[in-house]
């Protein structure tokens, strides 16, 4: 008891030291000079309350731990029905889900469909990064760079050469993959944490380049007026450009701006389904198994004759091409892109999605992407605290549930 009392006093003292200058006073400009003002009584009240919480938390640390230990961990995977009934049910459920996804946008407001499209972009990005981080275990902190490559590919090609969205989609994916290959080839020999920093540096480099190459990328002003995708040449605008037809004229219906939003949403659904399908197949292929094996034990893999460069490079390149896909679609949806959309924080958010969902688990990543995009929309008054919460969430998840909310399950046997 005496030991924990000392501990508690020490921890409370540390908390006070941490808070006193950073939270207790505020640095601000007063006219032309700088001035320090003390925080109000209510903020000091919060600080003291925090100190109190730390004190009692440490004092009764053992009891608190015991209490938390008694709460059963949520076992989400147990909700899934097991056995043969699941196998017969699965295709039905999946088709119902797809039909639901396709029908749903016609019944709700434009804003909701738009938000859903954004969520789908994050799902795509999350799934792509999941290959790199979750399956292959390579920490990529510059993932947003490939996203930017995809977006700028479409924006530039359509601006200068008049390429259409559908032509640019594979080009963007290919180009992003090429960038991934060029970057990955030299750096994948490095150990994990070096790789993280190099990719981070690469992400920043791409952003700086886009920002400063004003003659081509428009610099910080970005590129605006990017063409929207068309449906077999049918445009979704009020009036058709020369030599084209609009969607509503062709079908003889009234023009509605909602058509475009729903069309974009449907493209996003299509892309996400393609990405999920491809990754699902890849995971069951030898290369997919090799990714995971390499993540678990590199030395063992190499001694079994796996070529680690090829395996890592394939994961890195595939992840990059998914980001290129997503980037191309993002540019088409926004109609405007600038380097502001491709900052490090974006990479961190995508990483947070993968980490929260459970590294390697597709369903987890999808759920996490939905939560991470919809929650900030619902809690707009707390938007200042959004990044703070992201950071905290990453630390807390790593400490208590590093495997994520919905951990990946592999067929395996356990010795009892």
């Amino acid at each position: 008891m005496r030991g924990s009392l000392y501990n508690a006093i020490f921890a409370a003292g540390i908390t006070l030291v941490l808070a006193c200058l950073m939270l207790g006073v505020r640095l601000g400009a007063e006219g032309t000079t700088l001035a320090v003002t003390g925080a109000g009584a209510d903020r000091w009240g919060w600080i003291l309350a925090g100190v109190g919480v730390v004190f009692f938390g440490q004092l009764f640390a053992n009891q608190v731990d015991a209490l938390f230990g008694r709460i059963p961990k949520p076992n989400l995977s147990a909700l899934k029905p097991q056995g043969s009934s699941w196998n017969t049910l699965k295709p039905w459920l999946l088709s119902a889900l797809v039909v639901g996804l396709l029908v749903w946008p016609f019944m709700v407001s434009r804003g909701a469909v738009d938000l859903a499209t954004l969520t789908l972009i994050y799902i795509m990005l999350g799934l792509g990064l999941n290959i790199v981080v979750g399956l292959a275990g390579l920490l990529d902190l510059g993932y947003v760079a490939f996203y930017a490559v995809g977006a700028y590919t479409y924006a530039l090609l359509s601006e200068y050469f008049g390429f259409s969205f559908w032509m640019c989609l594979p080009i963007a994916a290919l180009l992003a993959a090429t960038f991934g290959f060029i970057l990955g080839f030299p750096v994948l020999r490095l150990r994990g944490d070096y790789l993280a920093i190099v990719t981070l540096g690469f992400g920043e480099m791409i952003r700086i380049l886009l920002n400063n190459w004003t003659s081509i990328t428009g610099g910080p002003n970005g590129i605006s007026g990017i063409e929207k995708p068309t449906l077999f040449g049918l445009e979704f605008s009020r009036r058709a450009s020369e030599g084209n037809q609009t969607f509503h004229e062709f079908f003889g219906i009234d023009y509605s701006s909602g058509h475009k939003v729903i069309f974009l949403y449907l493209i996003a659904v299509l892309l996400v389904i393609i990405v999920i399908y491809l990754i699902n197949r890849l995971m069951r292929m030898p290369i997919g198994r090799a990714w995971e094996a390499l993540r678990e034990d590199e030395i063992a893999c190499r001694s079994l004759g796996l070529n680690r460069t090829v395996i890592k490079l394939s994961a890195f390149t595939l992840g990059a091409s998914t980001a290129g896909f997503a980037g191309c679609f993002f540019a088409a949806r926004q109609g405007f892109i600038s380097p502001e959309s491709f900052i490090f924080i974006e990479s961190a958010i995508i990483l947070a999605i993968v980490v929260l969902g459970g590294m390697g688990s597709q369903i987890g990543v999808i759920l996490a992407a939905i939560v991470m995009t919809i929650l900030p929309e619902l809690a707009r008054e707390f938007s200042d605290y959004r990044m703070l919460m992201f950071g905290l969430l990453m630390v807390v998840m790593m400490r208590w549930r590093p495997e994520g909310l919905v951990p990946m399950k592999r067929p395996h046997l356990e010795l009892k």
Partner: protein, 309 residues
Amino acid sequence: MTEASLYLLQQIINGLTIGSTYALIAIGYTMVYGIIGMINFAHGEIYMIGSYVSFIVITGLLAMGSFALPLVLFIALLVAMLIASTYGWTVERVAYRPLRGSNRLIALISAIGMSIFLQNYVALAQGSRDVALAPLISGSVLELGSLDTFEVTLSWMQLLIWVVTLVTMTSLTLFISRSRMGRACRACAEDLGMTNLLGIDTNRIISLTFVIGAALAAIAGLLLGLYYGVINPFIGFMAGLKAFTAAVLGGIGSIPGAMLGGLILGVTEALTAAYFPSEYKDVVAFGLLVTILLFRPTGILGKPEVEKV
């Protein structure tokens, strides 16, 4: 001397000034990496906190008046070091220690989370706008060349940065090589498990490296804050990356390497900014990092790492 060489000399002076602060921050990365083999991603944020604390103390003391400037700076330095080390210690205790021994990826993600958290914590507590401090130390020690061609100046501020860095580095080197604690640090870097078996509280030594690293980062925070005069909650990200590059350049895990790496990076950057568009100076730092990792991953003074099964 010709004008061109005077210009070059000026850039080298500027580069050494910035480089010595990079070196101070880089030591925090290199010491932590040397002992527990992880990248303390939140280290740049500690530097930023050091900057903020020193600005707060300086402004507060100057507002009270009746203190001489050197005393104000000294007190600010001590307080910044104290508070930044407390942050460093707490970060290790809360975010890294519970994860020690688990996958490297997990510890690194936790560190990134901590970095984002600290950045936004300061932005919320102190406002996310730039904070500018009027220059406190002006004038120059030495002027070379004539005004009508090009004048090389070494300002008092630059001299202060050099002297403080030199004193800090010397005392750190003495501490590591002579004191008992320093010996324990070196032993931990050699073999953590064995050191533990020999009866040294390795947890305490690891905490100590975080505290030392944070204190040095706070010194850099004060110096660079005074030098540039402007800080904001997001300066830690770039500074941290640069310092990490410096640590890798010199050979991560090696303290003299970090010092050397910082100086080389600072001079390279200053020269790039002088002869190319200055926006590209950050690109150069990363380009340098990638090049070193490709051709000499151990850095200039680093030891090759042997992977054991």
